[in-house]
C-alpha cells in the first residue's frame, strides 16, 4: 500500500494513503479530543472538537474526516484550537447536569474527561435546560436525554453496525433527541437489545439497566463518586487502589463467534460486561446474550455441592464420598461388562483443556472410544 509522510506537532509520521489525520495522530500516540467519533463508525464530523490546523488550508479541518495528504504539516494543539475546544465543551456543559457524582458513567464519561481537562465545572453560558423523564420501559436499555449531547453515535451504530435503525433524531432544534419512532417503547421497535448504543454512548445518556438499575452495586457507586471527586478516569482510579484486576478479558461462552468480553467483578459478582473496541471478532460489538445473558453465573440455582440420589431423592454429599462412589460404580461396570459398556459425553461448552482431559479419561482410564459431545445437536 502506498505510504504518505506528514508532520504532526513537529513529529514526522508515516501512514498508508487514505488515512485520516485522526488515524495517524492516534497511531503515533498524539491525542486529539473527540466526542462524536467511534472507530467502529464512519466519521461524522459533528462535534468539531477534533479541529486541527493544517498549514496552507483555508480553514480548520476536522481530523476525523480529513484525509491526510502527503507532506501535510498539522498542528493538533495551540492556543486558538484549545480556546475553541474549551468553548465547545462549555456549550455542551451548559445543558448537561454536571453533578457527576451519582452518574453511572462517571469515570468513563468522555464529556466529563474533557470538562476536567479544560477545568470546566459549570458553563458560563446559561439559559434554558432540558428536563426529561427517564425512559426505562424495557429490561435492558435505559435512556436519559438530559445527559444527551446529540453526537448521534447511538443512531449511527444502530444503523451502520447493527443494521437496524431503531433511533433517529426526532423533533427539531432545542427539542431534538435521538428517539424511537413515535416515541414507542423499544420492545415495540425492531430493537435487538444488542446494547451497541450503550457501548458507544460517550455520556450517561444510554445505560444498561441490568447493571445500572436492577443490579446496581454500592461499591460501583462509590467508585464513580470517587472518580468525580478526584477527577480521575475509572481505570486510573482502580489502578491507584490496586484493584485493576477487577476486569478480566475472556471469551464469550455463547455461540461460536468467539467475541472477547471484559468481565467486571466486584465482591465475586459480575457487575458489568463490556467488549473491547476493535478487538476480536466482535470489534467491541456484542449481542443480547453476550452483553446481558450472564446472570446465570451468580444464579442462586447454581450447584454448589455434590449430590447423591438416595431412595429417589438427592442428598448433599462430600466430594470424597461422591467421587469414590463414581469411581467404584464406573470401575465395577468396566469389570463386569467391559469398558465399551460405558459412555462419556463431553461438552462443547467446556474448554479445550477440559475436553482433552475428558476424552483422555474415557480412552486411557475407562478404555473406551465411546466419547462424544453435542456437535451434532
Amino acid at each position: 500500500m502506498e505510504q504518505i509522510k506528514v508532520e504532526i506537532d513537529g513529529l514526522a509520521c508515516e501512514a498508508p494513503k487514505g488515512s485520516t489525520i485522526l488515524d495517524i495522530a492516534r497511531a503515533n500516540g498524539i491525542d486529539i479530543p473527540t466526542l462524536c467519533y467511534d472507530p467502529r463508525l464512519s466519521p461524522y464530523g459533528a462535534c468539531r472538537l477534533c479541529l486541527v490546523e493544517v498549514e496552507g488550508a483555508r480553514a480548520l479541518l476536522p481530523a476525523c474526516c480529513a484525509k491526510a495528504d502527503d507532506g501535510m504539516v498539522i498542528q493538533t494543539t495551540n492556543e486558538k484550537l484549545e480556546r475553541i475546544r474549551k468553548t465547545l465543551v462549555e456549550l455542551l456543559v451548559s445543558d448537561h447536569p454536571m453533578e457527576c457524582q451519582g452518574c453511572s458513567k462517571s469515570g468513563r464519561c468522555e464529556l466529563q474527561r474533557l470538562a476536567d481537562k479544560y477545568g470546566i465545572t459549570e458553563s458560563s453560558f446559561t439559559g434554558e435546560v432540558h428536563e426529561y423523564d427517564l425512559h426505562r420501559e424495557n429490561p435492558f436499555v435505559m435512556r436519559d436525554y438530559n445527559k444527551c449531547i446529540m453526537c448521534g453515535r447511538c443512531i449511527r451504530i444502530c444503523r451502520e453496525v447493527q443494521g437496524v435503525g431503531v433511533y433517529d433524531f426526532v423533533n427539531r432544534g432545542f427539542k431534538a433527541v435521538p428517539g424511537t419512532p413515535y416515541d414507542r417503547p423499544m420492545q415495540e421497535t425492531p430493537c435487538e437489545f444488542c446494547g451497541q448504543c450503550i457501548s458507544t454512548c460517550p455520556t450517561g445518556a444510554i445505560k444498561a439497566r441490568p447493571y445500572e438499575d436492577f443490579g446496581r452495586v454500592a461499591a460501583l457507586d462509590m467508585l464513580r463518586n470517587a472518580c468525580a471527586y478526584f477527577k480521575m478516569p475509572e481505570e486510573d482510579m482502580m489502578k491507584a487502589l490496586g484493584l485493576e484486576s477487577w476486569v478480566t478479558r475472556t471469551t464469550c461462552a455463547y455461540c461460536g463467534c468467539g467475541c472477547q468480553l471484559d468481565i467486571h467483578v466486584i465482591d465475586n459478582k459480575i457487575v458489568e460486561i463490556t467488549s473491547p473496541v476493535m478487538v476480536g471478532s466482535g470489534q467491541g460489538n456484542l449481542c443480547v446474550k453476550g452483553r446481558f445473558g450472564y446472570d446465570f453465573v451468580s444464579s442462586s440455582e447454581r450447584l454448589t455441592r455434590p449430590l447423591i440420589k438416595k431412595k429417589g431423592k438427592f442428598e448433599e454429599a462430600e466430594w470424597d464420598e461422591a467421587l469414590s462412589l463414581v469411581a467404584k460404580k464406573l470401575g465395577d461396570t468396566k469389570k463386569k461388562s467391559g469398558p465399551d459398556s460405558i459412555g462419556v459425553l463431553s461438552s462443547a461448552r467446556a474448554t479445550n483443556e477440559d475436553n482433552y482431559l475428558i476424552q483422555k479419561f474415557a480412552r486411557a482410564v475407562i478404555g473406551t472410544n465411546n466419547v462424544d459431545h453435542c456437535a451434532r445437536l
Binding site: P139, E160, Q162, C194, T250, T251, A253, C257, G258, K269, P276, M278, G280, S281, N285, C287, V288, G293, Y294, D295, F296, V297, S299, E301, R302, L303, R305, P306, L307, K309, F314, W319, A322, S324, L325, V326, A327, K329, L330, T333, S341, I342, V344, A348, A350, T351, N352, E353, N355, L357, R363, A364, V365, G367, N369, V371, D372, H373, A375, L377
Partner: protein, 528 residues
C-alpha cells in the same frame, strides 16, 4: 471471519445468522450495506437477514441439495463455472461426473422440488458465479438432515466450481453453534478420532498416544452421542458420565432419550445447574462455569482464544479438569498434567495443528491480534484461511450428490412440515439464558410459528395454546400466527423445557455424520 466483509456475494443457507451468530451477522450486514456485496438467503422461513438480501430463495425444508444442484446446472449451461480453477486445483474427471449428474437439475425441475421460482434460481446462480469472490455460510439448517453430508458436499461442489476457495471473502464456512464445538472436536472429544482428527484405527497414531499416556488404547471407533442413547436404551451401555450436556432437551425424540437414560444402571452428571438430564442422575457433580476457570475456546473460524478466571466458583463447585483428574486418580490413573496451561502444552505436543499454541503465547498477543490453527510451531503465525495453495487432500474432489427427500414426508395424518431452530434471545437448552430476568421478560416462552392460512385451516389462534403432534409425541405451545413461515411449514425453537420441541423431532440420522434430522418432521397441529 474478518474477511467476510470483503466478499462480493454471500450465500447464506440453513443459517439464521443474525439470531444465532449475531456478530457474524453484523459482518454480513456490513458487507451488504457498505461494501456492495450481493446477499442470497436460502431459507424456508423469513429471517431478519431476508431484509438485507438481494434474493431470498424460500425453499421447502430438506430440498437444499436440489436447490444447489439447480444453481450449478445454470452455471454449467451458461458457462459461468471457473474452468481455470477446476483444471488447476480439482480432479477433472470428477467434475465431468458432476456435470453429467447436473443435467437433470434444470431450474424448472428444481423449482418443482424446492418451490423456488426457476428464474430466481437462475438469477441467484448468476449473481454468485459472477462475483469476484463469493462466500457460502451455513449452519445447522444444512447439517441437521438425513442428507446433511450430501448437503455439505454439494456446497463444496458449488464453491469449487466457482473457484471460491482459499482466498479472502470466499469458502464454505460452517458456523459452529456453540462456543467450543470446534475445540471439542479438535482435541478429540469424538468417538473415531484422537486429537487433531487422527483416527483411532491408525496404529501409528495410537502408538504415539500410548507412549505419551502410558496405557494401551482401544482400537475400534466408539459410539456417537446419538448411538450411545440407542445403545443405552438397548441395555448395551450401562453407565454414562455426562459433562455439561443436556441431552434431555437437546436430543431428537426426547421420549426416547429419557427412556435411554432411565435404563442406565448408573448415571453421573457434571454441570453448573441441575439440568433436566442431571435430575435423572445417580450422582451430580457441581462444576465451575467458564467465568470461574482458565483455559481456551476455539471459535468457529479456528481462532484459539483464552478463557480466564474472573471470579470464584460458588460453594464447593470445582473446575472440570480437577474433577476428572481426581476421578482418574481414584480409578488408578494419574493424569500427568491437570493445570490448564500444562494441559495445553500436552495437547500441543500431541497435535500438530496446535503445535505452536500455548497459554503464554496467547496471553502475549497484542490487542486485536489472533491465532488460528493450524499453527505447527511457536514461530508459525497461524492460518486464518485454509486451502490457499492446495487442498488438504491435494486435488479438489467433486462429490456429486442426488437430492433425496427427508425421511419423513407430510401425509394425510401429519400434513405439516415441522422445522426447529433457535431465536435470538435464547441459547440452546436455555440452561443459561433462561436464568436471565431481562431476557425472559422479552422472551418468556416458546411459540409455534404458523402461517395465517394454516392457522385458519387448523383452527389455531394467535396467542392461544395449540397442540403440536408428531409420531414421537405432542407438546402444548402458544401459537404465533405469522407470514414469516410459508403455508405447510411450522417452526418451533427448541430452548423451552415446558414446550420442548425435541419431544417432536425425528431421531433418524444422517448415515455418515450421525446428525439427527431436527429440521424436518411431519406434524399436525390443533387448538388446545
Amino acid at each position: 471471519m474478518d474477511d467476510i466483509e470483503t466478499a462480493k456475494a454471500i450465500l447464506v443457507i440453513g443459517s439464521n445468522t443474525t439470531e444465532c451468530h449475531p456478530i457474524i451477522g453484523l459482518r454480513i450486514k456490513k458487507a451488504v450495506m457498505q461494501n456492495d456485496c450481493k446477499l442470497i438467503v436460502a431459507e424456508p422461513k423469513h429471517i431478519r437477514l431476508c431484509y438485507y438480501a438481494d434474493k431470498w430463495l424460500q425453499l421447502k425444508p430438506g430440498t437444499d441439495v436440489a436447490l444447489i444442484n439447480g444453481m450449478m446446472n445454470v452455471m454449467v449451461e451458461e458457462g459461468l463455472a471457473d474452468d481455470p480453477f477446476i483444471n488447476d486445483r480439482c480432479e477433472c474427471d470428477r467434475y465431468d461426473e458432476l456435470k453429467a449428474m447436473l443435467k437433470d437439475y434444470t431450474p424448472e425441475k428444481v423449482s418443482e422440488i424446492t418451490g423456488v421460482p426457476a428464474d430466481d434460481i437462475r438469477e441467484a446462480a448468476r449473481t454468485f458465479a459472477n462475483a469476484d469472490n463469493a462466500a457460502i455460510i451455513y449452519a445447522m439448517g444444512i447439517t441437521q438432515h438425513t442428507t446433511g453430508t450430501d448437503n455439505v458436499m454439494t456446497l463444496a461442489n458449488l464453491a469449487m466450481m466457482t473457484g471460491n476457495i482459499g482466498k479472502p471473502g470466499t469458502g464454505v464456512n460452517p458456523l459452529r453453534g456453540q462456543n467450543n464445538v470446534q475445540g471439542a472436536c479438535d482435541v478429540g472429544a469424538l468417538p473415531n478420532v484422537l486429537t487433531g482428527y487422527k483416527p483411532v484405527t491408525d496404529p501409528e497414531t495410537r502408538e504415539k498416544f500410548e507412549k505419551a499416556w502410558g496405557v494401551k488404547l482401544p482400537e475400534e471407533p466408539g459410539l456417537t452421542a446419538t448411538e450411545m442413547m440407542s445403545a443405552a436404551a438397548e441395555g448395551k451401555i450401562k453407565a454414562m458420565y455426562i459433562v455439561g450436556e443436556n441431552p434431555m432437551l437437546s436430543d431428537a425424540n426426547l421420549h426416547h432419550a429419557e427412556k435411554a437414560l432411565k435404563n442406565l444402571d448408573f448415571l453421573v452428571v457434571e454441570d453448573i445447574f441441575l439440568t433436566e438430564t442431571a435430575q435423572l442422575a445417580d450422582v451430580v457433580l457441581p462444576a465451575a462455569s467458564f467465568a470461574e476457570k482458565e483455559g481456551t475456546f476455539s471459535a468457529t473460524d479456528r481462532r484459539v482464544q483464552r478463557v480466564r478466571k474472573a471470579l470464584d466458583a460458588p460453594g464447593e463447585a470445582r473446575p472440570d479438569n480437577e474433577i476428572v483428574a481426581d476421578l482418574a486418580k481414584r480409578m488408578g490413573y494419574e493424569m500427568a498434567n491437570v493445570e490448564p496451561a500444562a494441559v495445553m502444552d500436552e495437547i500441543a505436543s500431541l497435535t500438530p495443528q496446535y503445535g505452536g499454541i500455548s497459554h503464554a503465547r496467547l496471553d502475549a498477543l497484542p490487542d486485536g491480534e489472533r491465532l488460528h490453527w493450524p499453527c505447527p510451531d511457536a514461530d508459525h503465525p497461524g492460518t486464518p484461511i485454509l486451502h490457499t495453495e492446495v487442498f488438504t487432500r491435494g486435488k479438489g474432489w467433486f462429490a456429486p450428490a442426488e437430492w433425496q427427500a427427508p425421511a419423513e414426508q407430510p401425509d394425510k395424518e401429519y400434513p405439516l412440515t415441522l422445522t426447529t431452530g433457535r431465536v435470538l434471545w435464547q441459547y440452546h437448552t436455555g440452561t443459561m439464558t433462561r436464568k436471565s430476568d431481562g431476557i425472559n421478560e422479552i422472551d418468556p416462552h416458546g411459540h409455534v410459528w404458523i402461517s395465517p392460512d394454516d392457522a385458519e385451516k387448523y383452527g389455531v389462534e394467535n396467542g392461544k395454546k395449540a397442540v403440536v403432534t408428531t409420531r414421537r409425541g405432542d407438546i402444548d405451545i402458544e401459537a404465533m400466527v405469522t407470514e414469516r413461515v410459508p403455508n405447510g411449514v411450522i417452526f418451533i425453537p427448541f430452548h423451552y423445557v415446558e414446550s420442548a420441541a425435541n419431544i417432536l423431532t425425528n431421531d433418524v440420522v444422517d448415515p455418515v455424520s450421525k446428525v439427527p434430522e431436527f429440521k424436518v418432521s411431519a406434524a399436525k397441529v390443533k387448538a388446545k
